[in-house]
Symmetry: C2
Subunit: 155 residues, 2 copies
DNA sequence: CTCGATGCAAATGCTTTGCAGAAAA
DNA sequence: TTTTCTGCAAAGCATTTGCATCGAG
């Protein structure tokens, strides 16, 4: 499934968020709607900066703090994943239901490929179980050199 | 291989460091020797703070910056791995030659189990190759609940 | 003597927080 | 009206850097 095929589920994500906010007595504001809309329609791994730029395109008065606070909220209700790829920046990714994947990252150009592998998942479960753990989640990142950079490097 | 069995290789690590520093024209100072000695003898995943406490036990005048700078040096020459486990803190681990492992972390008590699995490694190589990448390294972390915390939680 | 290393304090960069005013419910 | 939210600026933290001094080679 490619990221663009998720577009149709933005409403579903908004609905899940609405349910969570309702349960917690949180309020729906224009800024929050802007931030979550931009985020839910996004693809890939966005920094706060990335989001803020897009959000300000729609509403120039929105501040950093609001974006941070909104993404914290999305993390809490399981609609966003926070990722750290080595530089000191947090990046966020939409947590589409039923889907999750790991990352293959180019050490030179930072190109990111997403992948999924059931066999690895199965082995992870076994490993956790063998140590007496119940597995909740995992983080798998592969770092290498992509074919483009290898060709560029050999010139 | 358990961490304590690496004790005999501290000299080897110091030798590798010495070779690197020689090649780069870097100087061997008392502070650097103290920091690297503490670090090479260590087990587990130490923060800068952890290291500084131990180092100051031997030489109270050593400053933060020196520890940071020394660990940066160790990262550069491949003798230390830097890890991030979610909180904003960098932790460092000795990069023993020929050995590497992944981590299984309890979400409640932060207990860390280290493990190694050749089959996962093999699949990772395949995945990278199938996307045109040459794999250099990886990061695999499993997060779950350990048996102790499960028992405590069900009381 | 030279140039790298150190220690301190100041600076940096990302993220969080306090607070007064704005706006949902 | 009550309570949450927002925007701004200030505060927090981990980490890095500038600089005068120290010390290895």
């Amino acid at each position: 499934m490619t990221p663009s095929q998720h577009t149709a589920t933005v409403d579903g994500l908004q609905a899940r968020l609405a349910a969570y906010m309702d349960k917690k007595g949180l309020r729906s504001t224009a800024q929050r709607r802007t931030v979550t809309d931009v985020f839910f329609r996004s693809t890939g791994h966005l920094s706060i900066e990335d989001l803020l730029v897009q959000v300000r395109g729609l509403d120039p008065k929105v501040g950093y703090a609001t974006v941070y606070r909104t993404l914290k909220l999305l993390k809490e209700c399981g609609l966003a994943y926070e990722r750290h790829f080595g530089d000191g920046i947090s990046r966020y990714e939409v947590a589409h239901e039923d889907e999750h994947h790991d990352h293959l990252i180019c050490l030179e150009c930072s190109a990111i490929v997403e992948f999924e592998n059931d066999e690895i998942e199965r082995i992870q479960d076994q490993i956790a179980k063998s140590h007496g753990y119940v597995l909740k989640r995992h983080k798998l990142e592969l770092y290498g050199i992509c074919s483009t950079c290898r060709k560029a490097g050999s010139e």
